[in-house]
Symmetry: C2
Subunit: 471 residues, 2 copies
Amino acid sequence: MVAEPPIEENVRPDDRIDDERLDEENTLKADYVRNVRGLLDAGDKGGVYDLVEPLHPADIADLFELCDENERRDLAVAITDLMSSDVIAELNDYVRETMMEALPAEAVALIAEQLENDDAVQLIEDLDVADQQAILAELADEDRVAIESALAYPEETAGRLMSREVVAVPEHMTVGGLIDFLRENVDLANDFYEVFVVDHIHHPVGTCQLSWILRTPRHIALSDVMKRDQTLVPVGLDQEEVALMFQKYALISAAVVDESGRLVGQMTVDDVVHIISEEASEDALLMSGAGEGDINEPIREAYGSRVRWLIANLGTALIGSLIIAAFGAAIEKLVALAILMPIVASIGGNAGTQTMAVSVRAIAMNQLTEANTLRILWREFRVAVLNGVTIAVLIGAATAAIFTPMLGAVIAVAMVINIITAGLAGVLVPVIFERLKQDPAVASSVFVTMITDSMGFFAFLGLAVVSGVAS
Amino acid sequence: MVAEPPIEENVRPDDRIDDERLDEENTLKADYVRNVRGLLDAGDKGGVYDLVEPLHPADIADLFELCDENERRDLAVAITDLMSSDVIAELNDYVRETMMEALPAEAVALIAEQLENDDAVQLIEDLDVADQQAILAELADEDRVAIESALAYPEETAGRLMSREVVAVPEHMTVGGLIDFLRENVDLANDFYEVFVVDHIHHPVGTCQLSWILRTPRHIALSDVMKRDQTLVPVGLDQEEVALMFQKYALISAAVVDESGRLVGQMTVDDVVHIISEEASEDALLMSGAGEGDINEPIREAYGSRVRWLIANLGTALIGSLIIAAFGAAIEKLVALAILMPIVASIGGNAGTQTMAVSVRAIAMNQLTEANTLRILWREFRVAVLNGVTIAVLIGAATAAIFTPMLGAVIAVAMVINIITAGLAGVLVPVIFERLKQDPAVASSVFVTMITDSMGFFAFLGLAVVSGVAS
C-alpha cells in the first residue's frame, strides 16, 4: 500500500522500536535485555549506550528494574547523559532509593535540580534525614524551599504529591490577555491542562479548561468562560482519597488548597494514575499478607512483612488444632473424620475469601457504606446458601457412597453451616475493621480464616459426635 | 477571618455540600440516603427532587447504587430531568443494565442521543442484540453509524472505548490558524487535551498539547510546535494494554489508529482511569475466585462464578484427603497427627498465596518478564527459606513441648519443605499460566492451594511414618 512507508517512517515510531526491543505488550524483550547485560558484563559501555539510546525514558527505567542490583550501577555509569529526569521519575521506588543511596549527595542534588519539584520530593523523601539534609544543602534556595515545604506535609498526602507550578490568573483578565500572558511568561510549567482563576487573596473562584480558552474570542472575560463549581483538593487529603476524587469526578487536574482556602498547587491525573493503580492493587497484596508486595522490595523487608502474617496465621491454625484435639477420641474411633475435616475447613476458607475480596473492594471504592451494609449482608447470605447447598450435595453424596450415609449427612450439614458462616464473616469482618478506622484489607483474612477453620472443624466433628457416627 | 465568607460562598462548594450530604470521603451519608428512600417510599417525588437536585451527577449515580432495585425505578421517575448523560455514564454497569432493560427502546434511545458516543456504546453494549437493534433504529443516522462501528470492535478494545471526536488538523496550519479554526467550529468536542496533526491520508504525524499552542505566537507553524514521536493506540488493543500504556507513558490522551495507520479516534485518560482501577483490582477478586466481584452483580451470576471455584477447590481438597487416607493407619496410632496436619497445610497455603499475589501483580504490571523470572524465583526461594525456618522453629518447639521432640522435629522439617514449595509454586504457577496465554490471576490459586495442601499433608504424615513417631 502507498501509505505504508510514511507509516513506518513517521507515524508509528513505537512500532518501529517494537520490532527490535519491545514486544506487543510494550515490554522490553528478554533477548534485548540479555544483550544489554552481556555488554555490561563485558564492560562495553559504548555498546550499551548505543543499545539503550533509542529507548523511551519509561523503558530505560524498566531496563534498570530488569537488571540485577550490581548491574544497575554500571548501567547508570554507561548511559549517564541518558539518565533524564523522566527516567528517574519512572523508576520503581525501591530501585530508585537503592541507586540514590549509592550516589554521593552532590550527584543526587544534581539530579534533583533537573526534576520537577514533585518528582524531586519523591526522589529524596525515602532517604534518611541526614542524606536529605546533605542533598537539600546542595540545592538552589528556590528548589530547597519548595521541597522542604512539601516534605513538611505527611507522606501520601496531596501536599507531598502536588506540583507547585500552577497557572493562576485574576478574574477580570480576558481570554486574549491570558493568551498574551502565557506567551510572555516562558518560565511557566510546560504542561498544564487548566488555568485557575483566583481572587485577590489567591482563593480559587473558577477554572478554565484550555480547550474552552482556545475556542473563545479574545475579548471575552475569563469570568464568563470559567466553571465556578470546581473540585478542590484539601492539601492534607490522603492520596487514596485524592485518587478516588479523580476517578469519581473524572478530573484531569485539580487545584490544591490550604486550610485557609488559598491555592497552593495542583494535582494532575498523570501523577494520580500511579496512585489509582497502587491503591487498587494493594488490597490483593494486603489480603494475602504480602505487605508492599513489590518484586523490587529488599528481601529483608519482604520477609518481615510476610512472616508477621504467617505467625498470625499460625496462631489461628492452633485454635483449629485445639478444636480438633477436643474431638481426639472421636477421631481415634473413626479416622474418616480426620480424612474429611480439612475439606470442610478449606472450602469454608475459600468461600470466606471470595466474599471478603468483594467486600474489601467495595469498601475501598466507597460502594459499601453504612447505607447499604444490611442489603449486602442479606445478598451474601443468599449467595452463601446457594453455594453451601450445592457443595453440600456434592460432598454429602460422595461421602455417603464411600463411607456411610450418616457421615454424608453430617459433612453436608457442616458444609452448609460453614459456608454461610464464611459468607457473613466475609462481609462483617471487613465492615467492622472499616468502622474501627482500620484498613479492612490488612487484618480481615486472618480473622475470616480463623472463623472458617474453627467453624469447619467444630461443626463437622461436633455433628459427628452428636449424631453418633463416631461412636 | 475576613476570608471565610467568600470561601464558604464560592471557593469550596464541595465542602458546603459535604456538611449535609457527603462525608469527608465524598461518600453520601447514610442519613441523607435514608431520607431520600423515606420520601421515595412515601411517594413524595417533589421532596425527593429537592433533596437530590444539588448533587453532583457522580453522586446521583452513587445514590442509585445505594438504593434497592425496586427503589431505583421510582427514583429515576422522580428526578427525570436530573438524569443527565453524566449520571448515566457514571452508573455502575450492572445497575445501568438493569435500569435500561426496564425502559422501552425509545426512552433508552433518547438517553443515548444525549450521551457522547463512547458512553452511548457503554450504555447499550451489554443489552441483548434485539434490544440493541430496537434502540439503534431510534437513533439519528450519524449516531447510529458511530455506535455500530464501535460495536463492530471486540469488547474491551480501544475501538470500543475510544471517542470518535478528535481535533485533527493539517501540518502546514499555523497556531493562529488553528485557534481561529477552533473558535469557528462550535460543533467540535467540548473537552480535548491535545490536537492531532495529520497528513493528507489522515495518518497522525505529530501532536500538540494545548498548553504549547497557547504559549506559541500565532504565526508559528504547528509542524514547529508539535511532538513527532507520539504513542499511538492500535484500534484493536485490549483495554488492559491501553491502561498500561497510559500509565507507563503518563498520557493524558492518545490517538487511536486503524490497521492502515489512519487516525480513527482518541482515548482520554478520564476514561482510562476506570479501566486502570478495574484491571488493577480484578486480580484480587479473580485470585479469590469471586469472578467479577461487583456488589451489584445479580445473585445468580455471583453464585455461578463463585460456585465453580468452590467445586474446583473441592476437587483439590479431595486430593489432600486421599493423601491423608493413605496414612489412616498412622493417624489411628497417633491422633496427634490429625491435630497437627492442618497447621502445616494452612501455613503453606498462606505462604503460597503471598508469593502468588506478588507474582500475579508483577506479571500484570509487566514487571515480571522472561528477562527476570529466574532472579525473582531465586528471590522468592530465599524469602521462603527465611519464613520456613522461622515458622518451623516456632511450631517445632511448641510441638516438642506439648507432644514429643521427635514429632516437633517432624513438623518443623515438614513446615520448611512446604513453605519452600509454596514459594516456588507461587511464582511458577502464575508464570506458567502467563506463558500459556492464560490469565494467571484466574486459575493460579486453585493449583497453588492444591500443591501446598497435598505437600503439607504428605510431607508431615510421610515424615511421621518414616521417622517412626507414628509406630
